[in-house]
C-alpha cells in the first residue's frame, strides 16, 4: 500500500467568516474502523457546533488535533488509512501535510461572494466548485446563503454549486416589489439567466422550496431537478406564530424563543445566531421587506400559495427531505408525495434539517443528483 491510501481529515469551512474551529471532542478513538459519513469529531465555531464526518473508509490511525485545540480551516484533524500502513508512513504524512496545506488554504480562501445586477436589484451569490451540472441553493424566509454552511462545500466537490441571497435577504437589495412569491421566483429566474445557467438542479429550503417549484413552472426547460427541504408550497399549514414572531421581534430576548423552534435541539441556537439575525433585521429596508413578504406568504395563518396540485404536471425529478420534528412546516406535507417524489424523512431533526443532519442531507442530495446526471 502506498501513500495514496492515507487520507486526511481536515477542518471544514462552515460559512464565510469561519477561519478556525475548536475541537470539542472526538467521537471516535484511534484504531476504530470508520466508513464514509461516520461522525468523527465535534467542532465548535463562533456561530455553531457541528460534527465533521469522514469522507473515506479506513482505520483511524492518528487523532492529530486534541480536545480544546483551535485548528485553522484546512488544518489536519486526523489521519485515516488501512490497518497495514506502517506507522512511519503515517508520521511522514503528518510531517509533509503541514507544508502542503499552507499553500492550499491560501488558494481555497478565494471563494468570495459576487454581486450581479438583475432588474433593479443587486443580488449576492457565492459560487463554489466547478464543472458538472450546476446546482443552486435557495434559502428560506429570513435566511441567507450562509444557511448552507454545512452543505455548500460538500455538494460542490464534483459540480458547480451556487448559493443565492434572495431579494430582501442577506446582502442582496432589500426591494421585494409587492412582496409576492412571484417577485422572488422572477428574480431567481432572471438571476439564472444573467449568470448563464441553462440547466440547473434547484435545492430549496422552506420558502426557497416554494420558489424552486415556482421557477420550475416558469422555466421548466432550465430545471433539471428539484430538491425540496422542509419546503413551503406543499400544503397550507405553517407556524404563523413563528413567522410573525420573527418579523416583529427587535430584541435578542424576544427573538431567541422563536429561533429555537427552527431546530429539534434548541441548544443549537447560539448567541451568535441570534445576534446575526438581529443585525440583519436592523439593516435599512429589511423590516419592511420581511413584513411585506410575510403578509403575502401567510394569510389568515395559512400558507397563501400551494403548488401541490401542479406537482403532477412537473416533469422534473423531485426529491423531498424533511425533519420529522419540524415545528415550522409540518412533516405531514411530505407524507403523500411518494407517487410524485422521492421522499426522505429524517428522524430527530427540525426545520433546519440541512444543518442538523448535514451529512445525511448532503448524501441524499448527492446521490439524487448523480443518478439524474448519470
Amino acid at each position: 500500500m502506498g501513500n495514496d491510501s492515507i487520507e486526511k481529515l481536515t477542518m471544514p469551512k462552515w460559512g464565510l467568516s469561519m477561519t478556525h474551529g475548536k475541537v470539542v471532542q472526538w467521537l471516535v478513538e484511534e484504531g476504530a474502523s470508520v466508513s464514509p459519513g461516520a461522525e468523527m469529531v465535534e467542532v465548535e465555531t463562533e456561530k455553531i457546533t457541528g460534527a465533521v464526518e469522514s469522507l473515506t473508509a479506513g482505520v483511524v490511525r492518528r487523532l492529530v488535533a486534541g480536545s480544546g485545540d483551535e485548528i485553522p480551516v484546512g488544518g489536519l484533524l486526523a489521519v485515516i488509512a488501512a490497518e497495514d500502513v506502517p506507522q512511519a508512513q503515517i508520521d511522514q504524512f503528518i510531517e509533509n501535510f503541514v507544508l502542503e496545506e499552507v499553500e492550499e488554504s491560501d488558494e481555497s480562501a478565494d471563494a468570495e461572494p459576487e454581486y450581479v445586477e438583475v432588474g433593479n436589484r443587486r443580488l449576492r451569490y457565492l459560487q463554489r466548485g466547478e464543472d458538472g451540472c450546476p446546482a443552486l441553493l435557495l434559502h428560506g424566509f429570513t435566511g441567507n446563503l450562509n444557511n448552507w454552511l454545512f452543505n455548500h462545500s460538500t455538494l460542490a466537490s464534483d459540480r458547480t454549486v451556487f448559493a443565492l441571497d434572495l431579494p430582501g435577504h442577506g446582502q442582496s437589495s432589500k426591494d421585494v416589489g409587492d412582496g409576492s412569491l412571484e417577485v422572488l421566483i422572477g428574480a431567481v429566474a432572471e438571476w439564472c439567466e444573467s449568470v448563464g445557467l441553462d440547466s440547473v438542479h434547484l435545492i430549496g429550503h422552506s420558502m426557497g422550496g416554494a420558489i424552486a417549484l415556482g421557477v420550475t413552472l416558469l422555466v421548466p426547460e432550465k430545471v433539471r431537478s428539484c430538491t425540496l427541504i422542509a419546503s413551503a408550497g406543499l400544503g397550507s399549514e405553517i407556524n404563523a406564530e413563528y413567522i410573525s414572531g420573527v418579523v416583529s421581534a427587535d430584541r435578542r430576548k424576544q427573538l431567541k424563543p422563536h429561533l429555537e423552534k427552527l431546530f429539534a435541539d434548541a441548544g443549537q441556537v447560539t448567541r451568535q445566531i441570534v445576534d446575526d439575525m438581529l443585525k440583519f433585521k436592523r439593516v435599512d429596508g429589511v423590516q419592511d421587506a420581511l413584513t411585506l413578504l410575510a403578509s403575502r406568504f401567510v394569510e389568515n395563518g395559512r400558507q397563501a400559495r400551494s403548488f401541490r396540485d401542479q406537482l403532477s404536471q412537473m416533469e422534473v425529478p423531485l426529491q423531498v427531505i424533511w425533519g420529522a420534528e419540524d415545528q415550522i412546516i409540518p412533516v405531514v406535507h411530505a407524507a403523500d408525495l411518494t407517487e410524485t417524489a422521492r421522499v426522505q424523512i429524517i428522524e430527530s431533526c427540525g426545520h433546519m434539517v440541512q444543518m442538523e443532519a448535514a451529512g445525511e442531507v448532503n448524501r441524499l442530495i448527492e446521490s439524487f443528483l448523480s443518478e439524474i446526471d448519470g
Binding site: 430584541r251 448567541r271 443585525k279 439593516v283 435599512d284
Partner: protein
C-alpha cells in the same frame, strides 16, 4: 471576509449615508470642511482627526466650518434642529462643552418637556472623550456622566466600529438631542461593518463576553481592557461576563441586573473620575435592586479623583487597565463571606 472598517471610517460612513439619504442632515463644527490654514484646499482636514473628510466635497454647503465659538455654533445647531433640520454638530473635545452648557442643558434638553411635548430637537453633538493621548487635563476627560444626569438628553458611548455606525445613524434619526461620545483612542481600531445602513436601538447593552462568575459593566475603551482582563483570568477558572453599556441614557438596567443576579459579583470599569459617575450610578442600581444576589462588595475600577495628568508616567497610572481590572475581578471572586470584610474594615 466581511468588510472591515476603522471606528473613524465607520463614523464617516454613517454621516455620509445619512447625508445622502436625508438632505436635512447638516454637519457643523470647527475644521469639519477645511479649517484654518487650508485655504484653497477645502476638505484637507475633515475635522481635527479626519472623521468628516470627504463630506465637504460631496455635500458642499451642508458641511459648515465654524470659528472657535462653541456656544454660538452649538446654539445655531439647536436652533436649526428646532426649525426642522437634523444637524450633526462636532465639538472636538468634550472638555469644551462647558462653554455651551446653557444651550444644551437649558435649551435643547428642555424644549420637548417645556413645550408640552410639541417641540422636537433632533440634534446630534459628536465629541471626543478619553485620556491616553498625552493631551493634558483640558483635552482628555470623559464627561458623559454629566450629560447622563440631565433628563432630556440621550448619551451614546460606542466601543466598536459596528456600534459606532449603527448608533450614529440611530442618533441622527432620533428626534431628541443626542450627545455622541467618541473615544479618541478607539479611532484606529478595526472591526466588521456592513456596507448598508443599519441602526442599533438605544438602551440595549451588548454582552460582549458571557460568563457566570463575575459581571463586569463597562463602556468605551474600557470594554477592550475589560475583555483582555477577562480572557487572562479565564485560564484561572474565573469566568467573567462583560457588558458594554453602549448608551448611558437610556440605560439598559435589565441586562445589568439579570447578569448580576446570576453571577452575584460586580466590577464596574469606567475611565472617568469616580465621584457622581457612571460607576457610582451602576453600583447604586445594583445595590438597590439586586442586593440579595450579591456575594461580594461591588468594586469600581476608575480613574482617581484628579485631573488627567500631563506627565506620561502619571497618565499611564491614571487610566484603568487590564491589570488593575484583573486585580479587582480577583478580589470580588475570591471574596468568601461578608463577615471577613466587615471585621477588616
Amino acid at each position: 471576509m466581511p468588510r472591515t472598517l476603522s471606528y473613524q471610517q465607520a463614523i464617516n460612513e454613517a454621516l455620509d449615508q445619512e447625508m445622502a439619504r436625508d438632505e436635512t442632515v447638516l454637519v457643523i463644527g470647527e475644521d469639519v470642511a477645511g479649517g484654518h490654514g487650508a485655504d484653497g484646499e477645502m476638505d484637507a482636514w475633515g475635522g481635527p482627526l479626519g472623521v468628516t473628510k470627504g463630506l465637504y466635497t460631496k455635500y458642499g454647503n451642508r458641511v459648515l466650518d465654524t470659528p472657535i465659538s462653541e456656544s454660538a455654533f452649538v446654539g445655531a445647531g439647536i436652533g436649526a434642529a428646532a426649525a426642522g433640520q437634523r444637524p450633526v454638530v462636532e465639538l472636538m473635545f468634550n472638555d469644551f462643552l462647558g462653554v455651551c452648557f446653557d444651550q444644551i442643558f437649558n435649551q435643547a434638553a428642555k424644549f420637548r418637556y417645556m413645550f408640552g411635548g410639541k417641540a422636537e430637537t433632533p440634534i446630534v453633538i459628536r465629541t471626543m472623550i478619553g485620556a491616553g493621548m498625552r493631551a493634558a487635563a483640558q483635552h482628555s476627560q470623559s464627561l458623559y456622566s454629566i450629560f447622563t444626569h440631565i433628563p432630556g438628553l440621550k448619551c451614546v458611548v460606542p466601543s466598536t466600529p459596528y456600534d459606532a455606525k449603527g448608533l450614529l445613524i440611530e442618533a441622527i434619526r432620533d428626534n431628541d438631542p443626542v450627545i455622541f461620545f467618541e473615544h479618541k483612542g478607539l479611532y484606529p481600531t478595526k472591526g466588521e461593518v456592513p456596507e448598508e445602513s443599519y441602526t442599533i436601538p438605544f438602551g440595549e447593552a451588548e454582552v460582549v463576553r458571557e460568563g457566570d462568575d463575575v459581571t463586569i459593566v463597562t463602556l468605551a475603551e474600557m470594554v477592550h481592557e475589560s475583555v483582555t482582563a477577562a480572557e487572562a483570568l479565564s485560564g484561572d477558572g474565573v469566568d467573567c461576563e462583560v457588558i458594554d453599556l453602549r448608551t448611558t441614557s437610556p440605560l439598559d438596567d435589565e441586562t445589568i441586573l439579570e447578569s448580576v443576579e446570576r453571577t452575584g459579583r460586580l466590577v464596574v470599569v469606567d475611565e472617568a473620575n469616580p465621584r457622581c459617575s457612571i460607576a457610582t450610578d451602576i453600583s447604586a442600581l445594583v445595590a438597590q435592586n439586586a442586593f440579595s444576589s450579591l456575594k461580594a462588595p461591588i468594586r469600581m475600577v476608575t480613574a482617581p479623583h484628579t485631573p488627567v495628568p500631563f506627565s506620561d508616567a502619571l497618565e499611564d497610572l491614571y487610566k484603568p487597565n487590564a491589570d488593575n481590572i484583573g486585580a479587582a475581578i480577583r478580589e470580588v471572586s475570591e471574596h468568601q463571606n461578608w463577615e471577613t470584610t466587615v471585621s477588616k474594615s
